[in-house]
């Protein structure tokens, strides 16, 4: 009797929660939802951005329905591993460190970083070869988002820097403008579009060259998925290649930027 009761309660508990089988029918996609112009929510409550377009495009080609799950960036990989969603389409760079824990599709966007700071902060942060000069970072506060390629780069290249870690990317810009941090390192495309080219950003500029060392930034940004799902990965890659070759990926980019965000050779 007791075991029956336990079984009944367990079934009831399972019935309350959603049981999902990683089928091709519905795939849950995790993204930050606060990372304009790549993935964000509009006032109408719709998700929009480059990553969202890529997701929709891929979903259509592989014939899967997509559900979107919003997740704080620093919990993105733990959430993927905990089966909160099946794919990460959130401008996540394909790095060696991440490949140890999860798998990635081929790349669908460049991955680069650049430092932004106030024009009145007159420092030479990089030498002519493009290497950072550690001594010139002294006394400056640097704002970075946790668990990003930028924080990894800083950890390895400038371990002595005064780094402040944030939960999201939006607060970086806010606190740079407030003067809470002197420098931030972030995606240069986003920085230019959403900040430097606007009135709020006129007093700020890039403080160094674009950094794209593969060690930290990988070969690009890809779709993240759990390891051991070769068939799904293959379908994703086919879909991405089709988006590249058909020119659709370029149209996604041109909606936001006057240039495309990928290398054509990724379509081979």
């Amino acid at each position: 009797m007791k075991s029956k009761l336990i079984k009944l309660m367990a079934l009831g508990a399972i019935a309350v929660f959603s049981i999902t089988n990683a089928s091709a029918e519905t795939l849950r996609v995790g993204m930050e939802c606060t990372y304009a112009p790549f993935n964000y929510k509009t006032a109408d409550g719709e998700l929009a951005g480059y990553d969202v377009d890529v997701a929709k495009g891929v979903g259509k080609i592989i014939g899967a329905d997509l559900e979107y799950v919003c997740q704080d960036w620093d919990g993105m990989i733990p959430a993927l591993l905990a089966n909160k969603f099946d794919l990460v389409i959130a401008s996540m760079s394909i790095t060696e460190k991440r490949l140890k824990k999860i798998d990635f599709s081929g790349p669908y966007r460049f991955s680069t970083g650049q430092i932004v700071g106030a024009k009145k902060t007159k420092v030479n942060l990089f030498d002519d070869a493009g290497n950072p000069i550690a001594a010139n970072f002294q006394g400056l506060k640097v704002g970075l988002e946790r668990a990003t390629t930028y924080s990894s780069w800083f950890e390895e290249e400038l371990p002595g820097a005064d780094v402040v870690l944030y939960d999201g990317s939006e607060p970086l810009y806010l606190d740079l403008m407030n003067g809470r941090v002197d420098l931030i390192m972030t995606n240069p495309m986003k920085a230019h579009l959403k900040f430097l080219s606007k009135t709020e950003g006129t007093k700020y500029e890039f403080k160094g060259p674009v950094v794209d060392e593969e060690k930290y930034f990988g070969i690009g940004v890809g779709i993240g998925l759990r390891q051991g799902q070769e068939p799904l990965k293959a379908r994703l890659n086919v879909a991405l290649k089709e988006l590249i070759n058909s020119g659709e990926l370029e149209t996604f980019a041109k909606k936001i930027f006057p240039f495309k965000l990928h290398k054509d050779e990724w379509g081979q």
Binding site: A10, I14, S18, T20, T34, A36, V69, E170
Partner: protein
């Protein structure tokens, strides 16, 4: 103020989510509180020790930590349990709504355990004796004497527990629940006006708190309508 245009409906739906969490967690909180109080008042040493462990754990751990743990950990644990019954199941997932609701119910439930326990102990023994003298059974005594008297004592602190539940809902935004604070974060990405957005969130929660406080006051008046001295 125009910056809020287009976001009002998002905030509205976020407020609905807060209400949904409140109702679900209220039910669970009462359940956990009664079970805990029952365990502590029972004679069983095992039940008391278990209940004490429950209260120590959930009164001593920060709410945000409980929420994060239940969100990440629950899937792993439940999957392991589910696979005992049906090895075919690949994984069981707990959506943020339930992870968060259960988390805050467990936390406030541990406080409610103490409240209910104190309230049960506060029931006038004379009333119990009178009920027995009148020939009422244990169950009748429980339903007609203990519960009504216990509720009157428990109501003020219980009102506070309800307020805690409401406010803890804001913490569930950390695991992606689409309530008002979460809406605010998304709105800030587009509008760049954090003060405005967060003040709206504060106002919505203040509204909920007011409704709850007024309701509790009303229930208290109703519950005490037969008491001597009540106006």
């Amino acid at each position: 103020m125009e910056v809020l245009n287009g976001w009002w409906d998002d905030y509205f739906w976020g407020a609905i989510v807060v209400a949904e969490v409140f109702i679900a967690s209220l039910f669970l909180m009462i359940l956990f509180g009664l079970i805990g109080a029952g365990a502590k008042l029972s004679g069983s040493r095992l039940a008391q020790k278990t209940a004490n462990t429950y209260t120590v754990i959930f009164r001593g751990t920060p709410e945000i930590l409980v929420i994060l743990l239940l969100y990440y950990g629950s899937a792993i644990t439940l999957t392991a349990i589910a696979q005992i019954f049906n090895p075919e199941i690949r994984f069981v997932d707990v959506p943020p709504f339930w992870a968060g609701t259960i988390a805050i119910s467990l936390i406030v439930g541990s406080y409610a355990t103490e409240t209910f326990r104190g309230a049960f102990l506060g029931v006038n023994p004379g009333s119990i004796e009178a009920a027995r003298a009148l020939g009422m059974s244990t169950l009748q005594t429980f339903i007609y004497i203990r519960i009504p008297e216990m509720w009157r004592i428990a109501l003020p602190p219980f009102g506070n527990h309800m307020l805690s539940l409401t406010k803890d809902t804001a913490l569930i935004s950390i695991i992606g629940l689409n309530e008002t604070l979460f809406v605010a974060k998304q709105a800030i990405t587009v509008t760049g006006k954090p003060f405005t957005m967060y003040i709206v969130v504060g106002a919505i929660y203040l509204g909920f708190s007011t409704i709850i406080t007024l309701s509790v006051m009303g229930i208290e008046k109703f519950g005490n309508r037969t008491s001597v001295g009540a106006k």
